[in-house]
């Protein structure tokens, strides 16, 4: 992979992942119902039959046989025999990436988890971008006192190891998705604030800004034509790298059981579940870990690629 292609490769991978997670579920047939008794920990590629009963319950089992008027649904300990008239629907289902401990389809869980990872990380990055840019601009343009105050505040927040602070808040508050976004954003804006402040201060002294001022350009025009385009590059590179950190932070919190509530599948929680059944169900932690790595690496490639372009 040559250096200059990193941006394209990373961006392509990211788009592919986003499409899989957001559009993929629409293209697939409905995932099989969760049947913890009969379909738990089926290996990747398993085929099974989903049977819907007249009371709305669904049974999923890899072994289903029909003898005359009874349907025999295979279970791990004993088989269930049902009269045929109770079965209202029957269809073959597949578990392309296996099933988890609760009989849920891993591929479906991965797509749901991916939607959460992508949304939480991008919203968190957006919060960080807004707060960081705001504080950085205020510090750069607000006079010496404001600058000193804000920068000391940045130092103070930076004085927490970030993951430390995240885990502390998450352990104390057990956040919902929106609170998690706020926490992730509010613990990762400090670098951006410094970056924006530094960039604005150095741009202010550059000759093309002085020239624009001397030529009588309005402040709005200088901001729009000179500051913003020069800020956009470093900001987008910083955000690409920050997104990777946020994905990892969200996964870490979920892994520790501190993130999104356990009823919603996230990649980190899937790895945690997989670690408990490593021997019987290697595929759980493996696929979830690979999904995280795929996302983080594509973001890192985008960051590197942007850096190459800007340098």
């Amino acid at each position: 992979m040559t250096r200059s292609r990193r941006l394209e490769v990373g961006f392509g991978a990211l788009v592919m992942l986003a499409l899989t997670c957001f559009v993929g579920p629409l293209l697939r047939s409905r995932p099989p119902a969760a049947d913890p008794a009969r379909a738990a920990l089926l290996p990747p590629g398993s085929r099974a039959t989903e049977i819907v009963l007249d009371d709305g319950r669904a049974l999923v089992s890899p072994r289903v046989a029909m003898t005359g008027d009874t349907v025999v649904v295979g279970g791990p300990l004993r088989d269930t025999e049902l009269p045929r008239r109770r079965v209202t629907a029957m269809r073959p289902v597949r578990f392309p990436l296996g099933s988890d401990r609760f009989g849920r389809d891993v591929l479906d869980q991965l797509m749901t988890g991916g939607r959460i990872s992508l949304s939480v990380a991008s919203l968190g990055a957006l919060v960080a971008l807004l707060v960081g840019t705001g504080v950085g601009l205020a510090a750069a343009t607000g006079g010496r006192l404001v600058d000193a105050l804000l920068m000391r505040m940045v130092d103070a927040v930076l004085a927490f190891p970030v993951l430390f602070l995240l885990i502390l808040i998450a352990a104390l508050a057990r956040p919902g998705p929106l609170v998690l976004v706020a926490i992730l954003g509010l613990t990762s804006w400090m670098g951006l604030a410094r970056l924006v402040r530094g960039q604005v201060l150095s741009l202010r002294g550059r000759t093309f800004v002085l020239a624009a001022r001397a030529a009588g350009c309005s402040p709005t025009r200088i901001w729009r034509r000179h500051y913003l385009p020069n800020l956009a590059g470093p900001l987008s590179q910083d955000t690409a790298l920050r997104l990777g950190d946020l994905v990892l932070a969200e996964a870490t919190l979920s892994y520790l059981g501190l993130g999104i509530p356990a009823s919603i599948p996230t990649w980190g929680a899937m790895v945690a579940q997989g670690h408990r059944v490593m021997i019987e169900g290697w595929w759980l932690a493996t696929f979830a870990g690979l999904a995280i790595a795929f996302l983080v690496i594509s973001l890192a490639l985008i960051g590197d690629g942007l850096q190459d372009r800007l340098a």
Binding site: A159, T252, H275, V296
Partner: protein, 323 residues
């Protein structure tokens, strides 16, 4: 130089106060107190109230805060709600394991990261460079808890080479000194390797690009033109300037060294600062939370200061600016 150090040290106290106050606000904003979350079957409402009275959890926040501030000012970090033990003693017990784990990981990080980067730039885009770049990117992208889980499965469960968790075996106190040391090292290998490997991937990535930048400098060309051996050019003329930023990375890694890795410590049940913080947060053990964040904050601030000072020591240009 001295002025820089004095000024930054003077800022240490107000900064730690600010961090501690922020922590207090976070803890106060969280739902529930120790009296609500303490898990003990058959605890009556009256007894919970007694706990509240005893630790002053019912008092207004401001007076709780002032009370805490007053005792910290006299050097008293308070008593843990859970362990009924002075926080300072708790910290003194949790710090050595974290320092040991962090130190071993840092050593591995530097040695492995340096070796990989130097070997890779000997022949840029050669097979070794490509393999380490891809491996490094993979390790960088994989979460550390995933790598730790795989390591436990492989080396602890399947192969049985190393213990899966904790810092010492049951009954290790009975052993001789040397056997106890061997026991400790066996327990240290997996967590330190997981922590160090992930960090080494970052170090190698960073150092590789710095080394490549330096290789393009004209003084490298000049060194080659003087007929110096390729080995000398690499190890002396290229590595030395490239190591400057790594020296500052050393200072910046101090906080991780002291506050520990919460994830690795909780996976391996390593009795250090990170695990203690996690448990204290779950139990709403306010004095312990405050104590650990303050130690963590001091470590970060001292680490930043060390980084700046080291940079000024090794780079004369920075020395001029910081005067």
């Amino acid at each position: 130089m001295r002025r820089l150090i004095v000024r930054r040290l003077a800022l240490l106290v107000p900064m730690v106060w600010l961090v501690a106050t922020l922590t207090f606000i976070v803890v106060a904003a969280a739902p529930g107190t120790y009296a609500d979350v303490v898990d003990h079957p058959g605890l009556t409402t009256d007894q919970r109230q007694a706990i509240r009275d005893r630790y002053g959890l019912d008092q207004p926040l401001l007076s709780q805060y002032l009370h805490w501030l007053g005792s910290v000012a006299t050097g008293d970090l308070g008593v843990s709600f859970v362990y009924k033990e002075p926080v300072s003693r708790l910290l003194a017990r949790a710090l050595p394991p974290t320092l040991l784990l962090g130190g071993a990981a840092l050593l591995l990080d530097l040695v492995l990261g340096l070796a990989a980067a130097v070997a890779a730039v000997r022949r840029p885009r050669g097979w070794f460079d490509r393999v380490t770049t891809i491996l490094g990117l993979g390790v960088y992208g994989l979460p550390s808890f995933w790598i730790a889980g795989l390591a436990v499965l492989l080396f602890a469960v399947l192969l049985g080479w190393f213990p899966a968790s904790h810092m010492r075996s049951v009954g290790a106190d009975e052993l001789s000194f040397l056997a106890r040391l061997a026991d400790l090292v066996r327990h240290l290998v997996l967590p330190a390797a997981c922590l160090g490997l992930v960090a080494a991937a970052g170090t190698a990535r960073y150092l590789r690009s710095t080394l490549l930048d330096v290789r393009g400098e004209r003084y490298i060309l000049a060194a080659r033109a003087r007929g110096l051996s390729e080995r000398r050019v690499l190890w002396v003329h290229t590595l030395r300037p490239a190591l400057l930023p790594v020296v500052t990375l050393l200072g910046l890694s101090l906080p991780v060294l002291v506050s520990g890795s919460v994830v690795i410590e909780s996976i391996f049940s390593w009795p250090g600062m990170g695990l203690t913080l996690l448990q204290a947060a779950h139990a709403r053990d306010v004095p312990v939370i405050m104590g650990i964040t303050m130690v963590g904050a001091v470590a970060v601030l001292l680490g930043n200061l060390t980084a700046d000072v080291l940079y000024a020591v090794v780079d004369p240009r920075a020395r001029e600016e910081s005067r």
